[in-house]
Amino acid sequence: MNSIDLAAKIRLDAVIMTNRGNSSHVASALSIADILGVLYGGGLKVDPQNPNWPERDRFILSKGHAGAGVYAALAETGFFSTEKLLTHYQNGSTLSGHVSHKGNPGVEFSTGSLGHGLSVATGMALAIQRRRENSRVFCLMSDGECDEGSIWEAAMFASHHKINNLVAIIDYNKIQSLDTIAATLTLEPFEDKWKSFGWNVTQVDGHNHEELEKALSKQSNKTSKPLVVMAHTTKGKGISFMENSVLWHYRSPQNEEFEKAISELSGDK
């Protein structure tokens, strides 16, 4: 499946899953749908038939609350059945709101508390580098997550140890849980922060697949530094009334809102 079609499927799945689960974070999943589409639509070296393939690229969703998006990407690319997506949030399900590896092939790492993923991704990347293997490690973080000090501990470590098989992606939608980033705890000058921590920085439109593909390709980093891709995104992307709205961090699409969301995603706006 090409990345555009996959991203569209991820959006549709995420809306259906959060509707059926009466669950939060639909806007967070929509924000990263294109990034996930590009990664699982060919950007990542993975094999759905062999999720533990040693030569695979590793992907960690550090913003675990957008787990619905990753579950959708995995199901749509054959790691498990798409029917399983309907168990999201249901009693006894393995598809928890925050992404979990237990019982879910293809999920590299479980998260849910912010600020954990980058350290683990860095440790994995270091181990792969020590073995002189070629796999890369991708870690998708939220912007608000960068409030956590542990992110910057990992950022220092990764550049100090020249871990250049590590790619951090920031879903820079500029909205966090209660308010905008700017009103909560400003991250700007964000690029300068990463540069001063010793990282290469690429800024892209996080909904433009060509830009994402280029930024995430192996050719994009030929230096000894780790790479951070700052993906400028729109929270709630794809559904007009969810876009750039703090409300939809937590609100679940129900009834008319659900129907309107589905019809917008289906292209009959």
Partner: protein
């Protein structure tokens, strides 16, 4: 204990290059030999414990066995969530080692008193808690952690009791019965065992025999064998450099209260009013009633048969 553990670890790491030692910038002088000999298996991550556990988890998920070294509460409480969500939930081979259990760093003040760590780490279902009472047990712990899959917390201590056996004869998954149960049986965890042995000897000189058990782990796999160790006792006294709830005393209470045994339990530990008192390990033990002399008095005043 620290030196014995490090020498044990060095022996293992020489044989297995997947063994890595991470430190959060502590171990001045102590880790020199290891660093010199195995520089590729050593990383000082800097003063960043949360990152240390995350990095260790990532390394472990890629096939390494990673020891994380620090002191006091730094490798446990400071990064508790990384231990819970990252290392333990993923059953990664992450071995957390703290030197300075209890009042080992008594003079350094409250920040360095590791007096709640056992309760907190014991609450994590996937984490095994290992607490040597002697130097050979500390050495054996290096190998026990290596052989045991998943996450363990190893609490080392400045003080220690005299060794009776060689490291290879020690099985840290079992509690050690030093003297079999009597009317009064004392159970301790960690280096404070030295006080218990001294107390038992003093009592013996007065014609009073007490049982003596060293709880070398606080996550026993089987309560039944522990209850058998208690059989015949009327009074158990638990002794630990740790608050009275949640640690050894808490564990013994859990074990006994779910059994048919009718045994009284006195839990000795750190009294809340003394949490921030400064002093040597010996001074702080005395303040909290954890010395041999205090134990002798307690046993004599609580015996039923005379």
């Amino acid at each position: 204990m620290r030196d014995e553990f490090i020498s044990g670890l060095l022996e293992i790491a020489r044989r297995d290059r997947n063994v890595l030692l991470l430190t959060a910038d502590l171990g001045f002088g102590v880790l020199d030999e290891y660093r010199r000999e195995l520089p590729d298996q050593f990383i000082n991550v800097g003063i960043a414990e949360q990152n240390m556990i995350g990095i260790a988890t990532g390394l472990a998920m890629e096939g390494n066995i990673v020891y994380c070294y620090s002191i006091g509460n730094f490798p446990t409480l400071r990064c508790l969530e990384q231990i819970r969500n990252d290392a333990a939930y993923h059953q990664a081979n992450v071995k957390i080692v703290s030197i300075g259990g209890g009042f080992s760093y008594g003079q350094l003040g409250m920040s360095h008193h590791a007096t709640e760590d056992l309760a907190i780490m014991r609450a994590l279902p996937e984490v095994k808690v290992v607490v040597p009472g002697t130097r050979n047990e500390a050495k054996a712990a290096a190998n026990y952690l290596y052989q045991t899959p998943g996450v363990q917390y190893l609490r080392l201590d400045k003080s220690y009791a005299t060794d009776q056996v060689e490291p290879h004869e020690i099985d840290l998954s079992e509690w050690n019965v030093l003297r079999k149960a009597q009317e009064v049986t004392i159970i301790s965890t960690g280096g404070v065992l030295e006080e218990v042995i001294e107390a038992a000897d003093m009592l013996s000189q007065r014609g009073v025999e007490v049982g003596m058990i060293s709880a070398r782990n606080l996550t026993p796999h089987d309560f039944k064998s522990i209850l058998e160790m208690f059989a015949g006792s009327k009074l158990l006294i638990s002794v630990e450099e740790h608050v009275r709830s949640g640690g050894l005393g808490g564990l013994v209470a859990e074990i006994v209260s779910e059994s048919e045994l009718k045994i009284r339990l006195i839990r000795l530990g750190v009294l809340p009013r003394n949490i921030s008192t400064v002093g040597s390990q010996k001074y702080l033990r005395n303040l909290n009633g954890l010395t041999a002399q205090k134990l002798v008095e307690l046993v004599l005043s609580n015996r039923i048969t005379h």
